[in-house]
């Protein structure tokens, strides 16, 4: 019902992208992701045993609607990320990549300098690059210039469930971007996802809020509905909020006085 989202060569009916970490069981992960309607699921290369054809995570993601988005979680600099990307492309058979580089293992904050460097190289190597970054409008433009397929600014620290703490910057990014904007990290509640969609984000990526919920399947559904509602509201043009009252003594009334 929402407009179709296109990133690089793929189109998506669902604007909810999902993560695969932190679930209590891979079977439950599969059910929750199916319920969420997600068509793009990110997988950490470090969690996958590429030697093993029966890898438990991949086995549970084997559905035609799930496109895999390998991520470079664990990479601390551009060099490691580029190596990991190549390994992931070979092992998982996709040139799509969620580029994440965090030298800081405590808050997992993305390194803007290394990310830009790696993005430039990976684009040249033929990857469809979706970089995870801070909500930095200038960095988003720089990434767009080197050819990333989208930008993925964070809403708040990853795994924090704090919602859209960076909302003012997200608005600028959405306004300026020529590539799809995917709000990633920190989305803790369906209402956060709806808000991101209402302000014009092209998609959101959710992991912790679904995986750690006592009922991941229902939570997956709730996010699906919220993302659809938020997008529909955006497309239908939200009513402008107004805090201005009509002035009792208009300042410009004199211009319209009849002589």
């Amino acid at each position: 019902m929402n407009n179709i989202l296109t990133i690089a060569d793929k189109t998506f009916n669902s604007r909810l992208f999902t993560g695969t970490g932190k679930f209590s069981h891979n079977q439950l992960m599969e059910e929750a992701l199916l319920a969420s309607g997600s068509e793009l699921v990110t997988v950490a290369l470090k969690r996958v045993d590429v030697q093993n054809e029966q890898d438990d995570i991949l086995k549970h993601l084997n559905h035609p609607q799930f496109h895999l988005l390998p991520n470079t979680s664990g990479a601390r600099n551009a060099e490691e990320a580029v190596l990991a990307a190549q390994l992931a492309r070979e092992a998982l058979g996709t040139n799509w990549l969620k580029l994440e580089i965090h030298p800081d293992p405590k808050y997992l904050m993305p390194d803007p300098i290394e990310t830009l460097k790696a993005a430039e190289q990976l684009v040249k190597l033929g990857f469809v690059v979706l970089p995870y970054i801070h909500a930095d409008p200038v960095l988003c433009k720089r990434l767009e210039e080197v050819g990333t397929a989208a930008v993925m600014p964070l809403g708040s620290p990853i795994g924090s469930n704090k919602g859209l703490k960076t909302i003012d910057f997200l608005e600028i990014i959405v306004e300026q971007s020529n590539v799809p904007v995917v709000v990633d990290a920190g989305i803790g509640a369906p209402s956060d996802a709806a808000k991101a969609m209402e302000l014009g984000a092209d998609a959101v990526l959710v992991n912790t809020a679904i995986a750690v919920s006592p009922n991941p399947v229902d939570m997956g559904k709730a996010f699906k509905m919220a993302v659809e509602a938020g997008r529909l509201a955006f497309e239908a043009k939200l009513a402008q909020t107004s805090s201005q009252a009509s002035a009792s003594s208009p300042l410009t009334a004199f211009l319209f006085d009849e002589e």
Binding site: G21, K22, F23, S24, H25, N26, A44, L45, K46, R47, V48, D49, G74, A75, R76, E80, L83, A84, L87, P103, D104, P105, K106, Y107, G159, S160, N161, T208, A211, V212
Partner: protein
Amino acid sequence: MTFKDIFAQYNWDEVKAGIYDKTDRDVEHALNKTGKRDLEDFKALISPAAAKYLEPMAQLSNQLTQKRFGKTIQMYLPMYLSNECQNICTYCGFSLDNPLRRVTLTDAQIRREVEVIKALGYDHILLVTGEANKTVGVDYFKNALKLIKPHFAHISMEVQPLDQQDYEELIPLGLNTVLVYQETYHKNDYKKHHPKGKKSNFDYRIDTPDRLGKAGIHKIGLGVLIGLEDWRTDCFFTAAHLQYMERNYWKTKYSISFPRLRPFSGGLEPKVEMNDRELVQTICAYRIFNEEVELSLSTRETEKFRNHIIPLGITSISAGSKTNPGGYAVEPQSLEQFEISDERTPAEIAHMIRACGYEPVWKDWDVVYS
């Protein structure tokens, strides 16, 4: 400056008194805080006053751990390479004065052990030795890493403290993590527990995490051996050490262990006991103090305890451990470092973890990240 200089500003007895003086109000303040907890909060959380807040502490620890780590538990296994040791440590089965046959694994023996450990499903391994710098020094470790690296996604080491340059040479060969426990931060009594050998040098040991941080290691494990001295005070210094390390070596990850002294052949009884409730309090205190630190639990603990501890704050666990070199394949009967308590197989532990509603994770790193 290193942690040694920070440490020198503290007085053990004052810190201890500060912990024992904490009141209900202090504990409630620490629990109800919305922002980050500080070291004074940590003192309150490990104080005797916090004992009656165990359930709310466990609830909070459970939530914080799930938020960060999800419903997953990392599986790892120790592989003892050698029991040769030049140190006398009053609590350890490998102590120089303990008459046991000394074994250091050869290349062929390492390969046999690796094969068996891989068959158990492990991808994260912890290499353990005593301290015998001539026979089991940096060259031995380099060779061992070359043999072992192709088979595991993540390699940790718990061996004698080394120089910064040694670590810098081992890291490119695939060393990801080093565990170095201070054993106790009670400087005077440290000498009594370590009367002979290089390990008796308190300062060199306490500076080891700094050397590791400078060498750029990916992860450092901190901790004390619980049972040597007042555990609350020792845990406080571990927390202070962690805080210092995070601020100074921000690219490094940290884990904490809380091994309780276990009996071994010919060993002594613990001087200070920590009961199960107190261990749970300690785990929760660390988690509430630091939401990101990894907390690890070994097979020293009993079956019953381990069955219930999964949701309370820990993030990694070993299963089916042998604490003797060659224990998996080469020489299962050789003398162990300490008696393990939970003898269940890795598959049984994985089943138990699933029954708790958690996913056992076998691989969460990749050689590509070295």
